[in-house]
Assembly symmetry: C2
Homo-oligomer: 135 residues x 2
DNA sequence: ACATTTGTAACATAATTTATTACAGTATGC
DNA sequence: GCATACTGTAATAAATTATGTTACAAATGT
């Protein structure tokens, strides 16, 4: 998973919001992000799967929004690119006979779910339109 | 930076809370986390720098809490191991002549600062004592 | 003295992210 | 219908980051 996924996706969507009448090419978008066009297309594939954008193949093809930017919230974008906020887990399986090791991941999950809730509440109130208005 | 830093640090602190009278060795702690002892010592160095634990060198040495677990909040631990919540930035410098590229990172920063605020508020209300009580 | 432990540095390996290349498939306009 | 400019996707490579290991000096209890 691309770690800049959220940032890249929101960058793409902001561009599409700014040029609502054009099909933008992955090359053009990649130029603004300074990223390989293939990676842009991958994120667009994700956006398409969520019916947020539509794209046209062939000459003069490209991508445009499939929904009104007032109807897209940052929560959706967050969820499709990030899953959940989390402050990380230790890489290896902790020791199962230790009372702490046995339960640490479960307890961290509960904590992270709580944080996720708070972040989601916040992001739900920000639309793509709102975000794009700052440019 | 260790990406499991927060999880590892909170694991260490939970163990220290559970054994408040002992100096625990990095080897013992590493066993519970299933992590290399050197990495445990690195996180302990960070905790020491923040005066949350103290440690003793030499035989029978190890680490113990330097503060009461009711006086340590998850916010502090978060801050010393994570800095700020963030949903990522694209790796490369965006195109400076594009109105979106020019401002995207600034706008993302504002957004992330806001999320960070919400998360911090939540973590401020959870003490190490609270967290440890779930084990 | 000896055993055990911290503290660090240097280096090695593994995992993840990002970039590149390649090419089949599709629409457009001449 | 042919050249051109795109998307879509797979395979692979390079770069970056995270984790693990080894090594050893310094400290301390017995």
């Amino acid at each position: 998973m691309l770690s800049g996924k959220f940032a890249i996706t929101i960058h793409i969507l902001t561009l599409l919001t700014k040029f609502p009448n054009d099909f933008l090419s992955s090359e053009f978008i990649a130029g603004s992000i300074n990223l390989n066009p293939v990676l842009v297309r991958k994120e667009i594939a994700n956006l398409k799967a969520h019916h947020i954008v539509e794209s046209k193949e062939g000459k003069n093809g490209g991508t445009k929004l499939a929904k009104n930017p007032t109807d897209i919230t940052l929560k959706e974008i967050f969820q499709m690119t990030f899953d959940t906020i989390n402050l990380g887990y230790a890489k290896n399986q902790p020791h199962p006979d230790c009372p702490v090791g046995k339960k640490i991941n479960e307890n961290l999950s509960v904590l992270y779910a709580d944080l996720n809730e708070k972040v989601s509440l916040e992001l739900k109130n920000i639309t793509l339109e709102d975000f794009s208005n700052h440019f």
